[in-house]
């Protein structure tokens, strides 16, 4: 009996769409990770894509994702009998509780395990594909597949199957089972994060239920070669982890069995079944009020529908649970906010928003997709559609209130996350709570993004014959989006809902980054409006669910306002799209990451040969920079003095400049362009007469860095309204070819048919000794920076003048002795903290309000000066300046007597707790140390 039931269940599950859909989905995900170079799970570096290590990692990670699937398999085992009403019929037979429950569990688990076999199958088939990079694959080891499937996958599937089987038998509800999945997932994430400490490694190896920690522990000291060939011995923590968790799984199944009863559960009986009291005298059927069909009715109908739709979401238990889990997850992330050496940043609103964007985003996405399905199909599922559809409510009253309801639900959900952020900020203290920033930087843009997503989800639901198909299409949309991006289709114009990035900073707020994003949101909103009108016109009113008859009546339903809205939206979509195209592709370069990779490879192939060509030395630089941070545009007029120190007459000189910098003027004294590689901004000049040894000459240039309008992806972050930070590698020409900025990633290099790695020079190679490692000459510098009047311009050197005239502020900086030819230029509205130590002027240029750690920086500079002067040599300058720049980068960098320092590291570190590591002092002292050792 048991075997019959198990095998019936197994065969039943095999006939269900979910089995095939899931097997195909996981096959594609895995296959993609194998054959698309950009995706890799577990491999990378020297670890091969089909190494035992990579196979085990892929299997383990996908088996975690698979909990959503095992839940569907095992929950269905029990829930379907209650949903179909078939339960009592089966339970009235002579079937035993054990056979019924455990037999079905075994069958469903078997089906889940079989469909998961798509993962190793895809790994194997992927490794055989002809177009893959053979160097990233080794021989296929059967033992590795068997190990991953048997030791990693099967116990993991058993565990998740058991847990959700138990939840399903106890709750007899599919949605509560999925709530259980979410809870399990969050618990696993939180637990893994908590156990992620070296001191807890052994403990984690035993306790982490999916064996990931145990596997990591047994392979952590393995070389790439070992990872490519060996599977870890099934012993120790790994063995016990598998045994313990399989036993836990069986215990949970036993628990489910022990608590399961055939009888209708008590909860259902207790749901008060209302019965009529004795019939009463009723008033005679008088004339009832008659309907009216006017604007007031339309309004009332709209609000009645809206209220009903909102109530159906807000009062559904799943919604509350989802939001609570989301808030809980975000609160955890906010509480632990990002840290460096265990020291958190202050929980600034900007930081909180970044955390919410990571920790909370999944929940509005799930809510948008899930409730789009629920709302579109509700009438049909609750079987109220015949009554409602035949009532005199106008057609628009089906779509419009639902769409507005789901929009309000999403806004409410996001508001809940804002409240979480505000609460944690208040508890942790030490920062102002900026509600305006929450609104403008988070609530509004995210609301639009997720409402757009909901519109697409509703459209899919209206088009497809079943809720699950609609949900499946959303999954396809996500996978397709990621895949398109990876293979070089990155334009926002065809990535639904795509917007350019909007990095945040206290110094620069949203900058101008919101402008492009706003146009893109408007563009996709217009498209979403078209989708919504189509939803309206194709709505299943009545009992006809097939698409074709609905398409046939489409033209008729588009007559009138619906068609007008659709026409207007189409015009807006095309017009805004054209404007975005001009901005992203005509005014600014649209370069995909794939194209950029090809560019760098071609650059290397064409120009690396010139690496050894002797070049003259720069001895003096003069830059005159004219910065308009609001455009943004930086014009530089500059002059180099150069000298031939190559030891022989110089016939040629190589000059190049940054890929995205324009160079309208560039002249080399007594030389002409012999060869120009315009694609690479690279020129070879030939001197009319060779420059003798020790001969000096000049180079003059004018360069422009600018951005007109907005870009497709990342906008320029070096020139911004407040907090520009740019260096001479960007605004000035470079002399000679170096390896700097060439492709470094081995797989990218191989893909571009380049040697996997450029070898460093031999230690004894004299050519390597000829230059310092930054390949910068020692130069005298004279740098003049002009910016807007309310900002402070700063460059390395001593300030000799600072004049504000006609709304422009000009400051000039000169060096007193040669420094390395590497210069930063910054401009922002700064507060300055100043101090003097042993005759050295110390200054911290910081954003107003970011003064939590400035005194600490000054102290660090003083201590550093004392130590370095005692142990190395005298400090060669009379000043040292630390200057804050926006959080677009997270580093500090040393230039001569000038240290640009990111907003996101020292300035906002939360050092109120004296037990935390004071990395602010460490980083400041480190950068000061660079004044002695290789300024970079």
């Amino acid at each position: 009996m048991f075997a019959r039931i198990a095998s019936f269940e197994f065969r039943y599950q095999l006939r269900q769409p979910v089995f095939w859909v899931v097997a195909i989905l996981f096959f594609l995900i895995t296959f993609g990770s194998v054959v698309i170079d950009q995706i890799s799970i577990g491999s990378g570096g020297n670890v091969l894509k089909n190494s035992p290590f990579a196979i085990a990692q892929t299997t383990a990670i996908l088996s975690i994702f698979y909990m959503f699937v095992t839940a569907a398999f095992v929950a269905n085992v029990i829930v379907r009998d209650y949903e179909t009403g078939f339960g009592p019929i089966i339970q009235a037979t002579r079937i035993k509780r054990f056979d019924y429950l455990i037999g079905r569990f075994v069958g469903a688990y078997g089906a889940a395990a079989l469909s998961f076999a798509a993962v190793p199958l895809a790994l194997f088939l992927g490794s055989l594909m002809p177009w893959v990079d053979k160097e990233t694959f080794g021989p296929n080891l059967p033992a590795a597949y068997a190990y991953a499937y048997g030791v990693i996958a099967l116990p993991n599937l058993l565990l998740t199957s058991a847990v959700f089987f138990a939840v399903a038998t106890m709750t007899r509800s599919m949605s509560l089972t999925y709530v259980g999945v979410m809870a399990f997932l969050v618990a696993w994430i939180a637990g893994s994060a908590a156990l992620n400490l070296p001191s807890l490694e052994d403990f984690a190896a035993w306790l982490e239920p999916f064996g990931i920690a145990a596997y990591a522990q047994s392979t952590q000291y393995w070389t790439a070669a070992e990872r490519n060939t060996r599977v870890p011995e099934l012993a120790g923590a790994l063995l016990w982890n598998r045994v313990i968790w399989s036993a836990v799984a069986l215990a949970i199944v036993a628990l489910a069995y022990a608590t399961f009863r055939f009888a209708a559960r008590g909860a259902k009986a207790s749901r008060a079944r209302v019965e009529v009291i004795a019939p009463q005298d009723r008033p005679a059927a008088g004339p009832l009020p008659s309907p009216r069909f006017d604007a007031a009715t339309a309004r009332a109908q709209f609000f009645a529908r809206l209220k009903m739709d909102l109530g159906q979401v807000f009062r559904s238990p799943a919604f509350l649970v989802l939001v609570l889990i989301g808030m809980f997850n975000s609160a955890g992330g906010l509480w632990l906010s990002p840290d460096i050496y265990g020291t958190s940043s202050r929980l600034l609103t900007r930081v909180a928003i970044a955390i919410l964007n990571g920790a909370f985003t999944l929940f509005p996405i799930i809510i948008a997709i899930y409730y789009a399905g629920e709302l579109v199909w509700r009438e049909r599922e609750k079987r109220t559609h015949e009554i409602v559809d035949s009532s005199a409510v106008p057609d628009w009253a089906f779509l419009v209130p639902r769409f507005i309801a789901i929009s309000l639900v999403l806004i409410a959900t996001l508001t809940a996350s804002v409240l979480t952020g505000v609460a944690v900020q208040t508890i942790k203290g030490g920062v102002p709570v900026e509600l305006g920033q929450y609104l403008v930087w988070y609530l509004i843009p995210r609301s639009v993004d997720w409402i757009l997503l909901a519109a697409l989800a509703m459209f899919f639901q209206v088009m497809t014959p079943h809720k699950f198909v609609g949900w499946g299409l959303m999954l396809v949309y996500f996978v397709a989006g990621i895949t398109l991006n990876l293979i070089g289709f990155e334009h926002v114009l065809y990535n639904y809902g795509g917007v350019s990035t909007e990095p945040l900073s206290e110094m620069n707020g949203q900058g101008d980054f919101w402008v492009g994003a706003a146009w893109m949101r408007a563009y996709w909103s217009a498209f979403a409006l078209i989708l919504l009108v189509l939803c309206h016109a194709l709505w299943r009113r009545g009992t006809e669910t097939r698409l074709w008859p609905r398409l046939r009546r489409l033209p008729r339903r588009l007559k009138g306002p619906a068609g007008l809205i659709m026409g207007t939206a189409t015009v807006a979509f095309v017009a805004i799209g054209a404007f975005i195209f001009v901005n992203t592709t005509v005014w600014n370069p649209y370069v995909t990451s794939r194209e950029q990779e090809v560019y760098l490879a071609d650059y290397e192939r064409t120009l690396l040969a010139y690496e050894e060509t002797p070049q003259p030395t720069i001895t003096d630089v003069r830059f005159n920079l004219d910065l308009d941070p609001h455009s943004p545009r930086l014009r530089t007029d500059g002059r180099y003095q150069l000298e031939n120190r190559t030891g022989r007459p110089l016939t040629h000189m190589h000059v190049r400049w940054d890929q995205f910098t324009e160079m309208p003027a560039l002249t080399v004294q007594d030389a002409e362009v012999e060869r120009a590689f315009d694609r690479f901004n690279y020129r070879i000049y030939r001197f009319r007469t060779p420059v003798p040894v020790g001969g000096r000459f000049a180079l003059d240039f004018r360069s422009v860095i600018q951005q007109r309008g907005f870009r497709n992806g990342a906008n320029i972050t070096s020139l911004v309204d407040n907090g520009s930070f740019v260096n001479n590698y960007a605004f000035a020409p470079l002399i000679g070819m170096t390896r700097q900025g060439l492709l470094a990633e081995r797989t990218q290099r191989r893909r571009q048919k380049l040697p996997a790695q450029l070898r460093d020079r031999d230690l004894d190679d004299a050519r390597g000794h000829a230059t310092n490692y930054v390949r910068a000459d020692w130069v005298n510098a004279d740098i003049t920076v002009t910016t807007v009047a309310d900002q402070t311009p700063v460059a390395p050197g001593y300030r000799v003048s600072d004049v504000t005239r006609d709304g422009r502020r000009t400051a000039r900086f000169v060096t007193e002795a040669p420094v390395l030819n590497f210069f930063s230029v910054q401009s922002a509205r700064y507060d300055v903290m100043e101090a003097t130590h042993k005759g050295v002027a110390l200054s911290i240029y910081h954003h107003p309000g970011h003064d939590w750690n400035t005194a600490r920086m000054v102290t660090a500079l003083k201590a550093g000066l004392d130590y370095f002067e005692t142990n190395f040599s005298d400090y060669q300058f009379r000043q040292v300046r630390v200057l804050e720049f926006p959080a677009y980068g997270t580093f500090a960098q040393a230039f001569a007597n000038t240290i640009p320092y990111s907003e996101d590291i020292g300035f906002v570190a939360d050092l109120r707790d004296p037990d935390k590591i004071d990395y602010v002092t460490y980083v400041t002292a480190h950068e000061l140390g660079h004044q002695w050792w290789a300024v970079t």
Partner: protein
């Protein structure tokens, strides 16, 4: 007056649910009898604008139902054969909601409508309870209440008495009879007594075709003297069916009672019975089956 002309509906799987149906339905109660699967619900849904028939015409007065479904919906009250309810919504709130959808937008009007109807269908005492907890009969009464909102001129009730206990059924039919004098009411059912009790006119639908149409009294009259009854053993049924036009069989006290249709006395222990509407119905069905 509702006129249906040459209405045909073929489902996607090829099922011919309605086959050239032509009917004229005057004001008052109209009974539509037919066995399960006869096409009754398809016909009801087509009239209720829920599906567009493959071909044919439906007119209500001067209104073309297929071309202008939204106009028909304004005068329509429809109780489907099978309907569900939203979770977590009370009877009052749901009826109020339906009243808004049916155009009773004025708050006072709506209150009057909802309260009167809840009293009429005897749900007033449970108005605050969630519909989802209602018994089948109570749910059915809620269904009729919503169908009566806004004085509809065309009321379609599809199998309304299925699942009602006799008392509830009586109350329900009384309610229909009260409103049914000046409007068109189509009562689709497979229970003959419903029609006998209420309908001045009726039709029998089977196999997607109208098999019979007329006034019940006339139809019964036409059978007068042609229906014969005999009590037999179950074992003899096959022989009787072979030799006689058996229109119905039922059990009575363990033996089988058969009715046969015959213009003359078949003898052999048959005795005449006064024909009822049930005999009309069964004889029509058996004729239809033979024709098929």
């Amino acid at each position: 007056m509702l006129t249906i002309q040459n209405l045909t509906h073929v489902y996607g799987n090829g099922t011919r649910a309605l086959d050239d149906v032509t009917l004229t339905i005057p004001k008052g109660m109209f009974g539509l009898l037919g066995p399960n699967g006869a096409g009754k619900s398809t016909l009801m849904r087509s009239i209720a604008t829920l599906q567009t028939p493959t071909s044919g015409a439906i007119r209500f007065g001067d209104l073309d139902v297929i071309k202008e479904p939204e106009r028909l919906r304004r005068v329509l009250g429809y109780l489907p054969q099978d309907f569900g309810v939203y979770p977590r919504v009370s009877a009052y709130d749901m009826l109020d909601h339906m009243a808004v959808l049916k155009g009773i937008s004025n708050g006072r009007d709506r209150k009057a409508t909802v309260e009167a109807l809840l009293h009429q269908v005897n749900l007033w005492s449970v108005r605050g309870k969630a519909l989802a907890g209602f018994s089948g009969g109570m749910r059915q009464r809620f269904g009729i209440a919503q169908a009566l909102i806004g004085n509809p001129e065309l009321i379609i009730v599809d199998e309304p008495t299925a699942g009602l206990d006799p008392e509830e059924r009586n109350r329900f039919l009384n309610l229909l009879a009260e409103v049914g004098e000046n409007v068109v009411i189509i009562l689709s059912t497979h229970i003959v007594e419903d029609v006998t009790d209420l309908c001045p006119r009726m039709a029998v639908l089977a196999g997607g075709k109208v098999q019979l149409e007329g006034a019940p009294a006339d139809l019964v009259q036409a059978l007068n003297g042609r229906v014969w009854k005999k009590i037999i053993d179950k074992a003899d049924l096959a022989a009787q069916q072979a030799s006689q036009n058996v229109i119905s069989t039922r059990l009575f006290a363990g033996r089988t009672v058969i009715h046969v249709l015959s213009d003359t006395n078949p003898g052999d222990g048959f005795e005449p019975v006064p024909g009822g509407l049930e005999d009309v119905y069964f004889s029509t069905l058996s004729a239809a089956r033979r024709a098929a």
